[in-house]
């Protein structure tokens, strides 16, 4: 029996999120491992145009659920469309990004389909007829290897962890018929912080902790701007009211895995590490040579951040200027 991998590609305001490409790429790899094919699914309103872009990452068949009722994400409407597509395709595997939307959708869908779900995976493979997933638990203090059973088997992938490799194929875009019954949950409005890259989506995150000593984050923001980075914070800085909750990195904040994480004036408490230890490269700037963060970073500078960080910003500026 031909086996299909269904990869749900998340878009926001008419553009795919980066994790959508990572999902497609991962789906392609799994499809190869199970000797099957990859189908992508895009949900939204007015998304027909962008759907073809998924072929550049290896989606041969792209299903589009394009409906006004899907303009804004609501759980039940999206769940209904996905459940119908899954009933139709009978995929072996269903993948999506572990974003706020993907985690919400995957959880409800798993219950509706009575399907195994592994959330926030950092590695996936198809082996011995089952999905084998690796996922951090206990705030990243442990990695669990889990084996899924049943059909379909579902996984959400941690953003920034899987490669979004290009694999241009000839993709066919098909619009699927749907009749979405109105969601019991009513979407009222969205309040976006304009121009701000979410820390979970940024390639580079520069964070300031209690060592900032106050709500003036100018030195951090200047470095972030020079690097094209998002600004994060420790819980202490958030508790002090210096930064919004949405910037908090850690066990009770966001989990980020950027290519580069720069921790300034952050001691490296275990709950903070829970949110950033899967970053590819970690830099710490701290005036205390014994700060625990130095045992968990790749590069460390002992010094006053207000002195060191502006010099880093300047050095990056020079590098960019060539």
């Amino acid at each position: 029996m031909a086996q299909t991998v269904l990869a749900i590609a998340e878009q926001a305001a008419g553009a795919f999120r980066k994790v959508a490409y990572e999902t497609i790429s991962t789906g392609r790899k799994l499809a190869a491992e199970l000797g099957g094919s990859l189908t992508a699914l895009v949900l939204g309103s007015g998304v027909q145009e962008i759907a073809g872009q998924l072929a550049e990452y290896g989606a041969e068949r792209i299903l589009v659920a394009d409906d006004g009722a899907l303009a804004e994400y609501t759980t039940e409407a999206y769940c209904q469309v996905c459940a119908a597509a899954i009933a139709d395709l009978a995929p072996a595997v269903v993948l999506m990004g572990a974003s706020s939307q993907g985690k919400d959708l995957a959880a409800r869908l798993s219950a509706r389909l009575n399907a195994a779900l592994a959330t926030d995976c950092v590695a996936l493979k198809w082996q011995e007829g089952a999905l084998q997933a690796t996922r951090p638990i206990y705030g990243g203090k442990i990695l669990a290897e889990v084996t899924l059973a049943g059909q379909p088997q579902m996984a959400t992938i941690r953003p920034h962890t899987f490669e979004a490799g290009r694999a241009s194929v000839q993709g066919t875009v098909e619009k699927i018929d749907l009749a979405v019954t109105p969601d019991r949950v009513k979407f009222i409005e969205k309040r976006m912080e304009s121009g701000k890259v979410d820390i979970t989506e940024a390639d580079i995150v520069v964070s300031g902790g209690r060592g900032m000593g106050g709500d003036d984050y100018t030195v951090i923001e200047a470095l972030a701007e020079q690097l094209g980075a998002a600004v994060g914070a420790s819980r202490s800085a958030v508790d002090e009211g210096w930064r919004p909750f949405s910037d908090q990195v850690g066990q009770t904040g966001k989990v980020v895995s950027p290519n580069l994480y720069v921790a300034c004036g952050i001691s490296g408490a275990i709950q903070h590490l829970a949110g950033m230890s899967s970053s590819k490269v970690i830099v710490a700037v701290n005036k205390d040579p014994d700060a625990p963060i130095f045992a968990r970073c790749d590069y460390g500078i002992v010094g006053d951040l207000f002195e060191v960080v502006p010099h880093i910003t300047e050095a990056v500026r020079k590098l960019k200027a060539g």
Binding site: I142, K186, I270
Partner: protein
Amino acid sequence: MEIVVLLKQVPSTESLVTIAEDGATIKTEDVNWIISPYDEFAVEEALRIREAVGGSVTILSVGPDKATEAIRTALAMGADKGVLVNDPAAVECDGLGTARILAAALKQMPYDLVIAGQRAVDDENFQVGPAVAEFLDIPCITLVIKEEMGDGVIRCHRTMEGGTAVLEAPLPMLFTTQRGLNEPRYASLPGVMKAKRKPLENKTLADIGLAAADFSQPLVRVTALKPPPQRSGGRMIEADDAQTKAAELVKLLHEEAKVI
């Protein structure tokens, strides 16, 4: 307003979690146990809603005898009663199994509002809340940072990448918590004394109409636990002044780590 909080006892966030000999479970001897932080937000929000509109707050948990402590703590914070589903057959449950048990228990009690954590900080499934809602066929809003109770409806501010979405759902419904929702109160000493006399019921799977055999084949099975890859420990950049250190760092990030 009948409010039910789904609460799980977990190792404290600062606990050193180590892998047991069997390679698939953790050592529990030296662990300090707490209410999962997101569930603590759920208890606090439930108490605030009860304080505003009246009603009662019930704590519902699936766990071993030990989980009684976490329920008592929530009762000491001010919750009215507790229910612990305690059955050896429930130990091996995956997220869906747990959700099925919680939903079955909920079906036996009155509820207008169910509050859960967005995720338990041990298994980090991010699954149980929405799955319970699905099994009860009620709406669910996850990652709620603010709620406003209306007449038969609740308005929730849900966090998402780069902002929040405002959503409205009819009761009964379930929502899951996000940090920023509130600051949980501490259990006061009189609260602790009172909690000892509050009702705490123990139930088995049979009591809520489920059979142990339904839970013998979890769909998600842990085959091994391993420590995460360790960083070798910081390469300290030494130089006489901050400017030279900064320049050296940027050079390394560019040429060696290739991240900028």
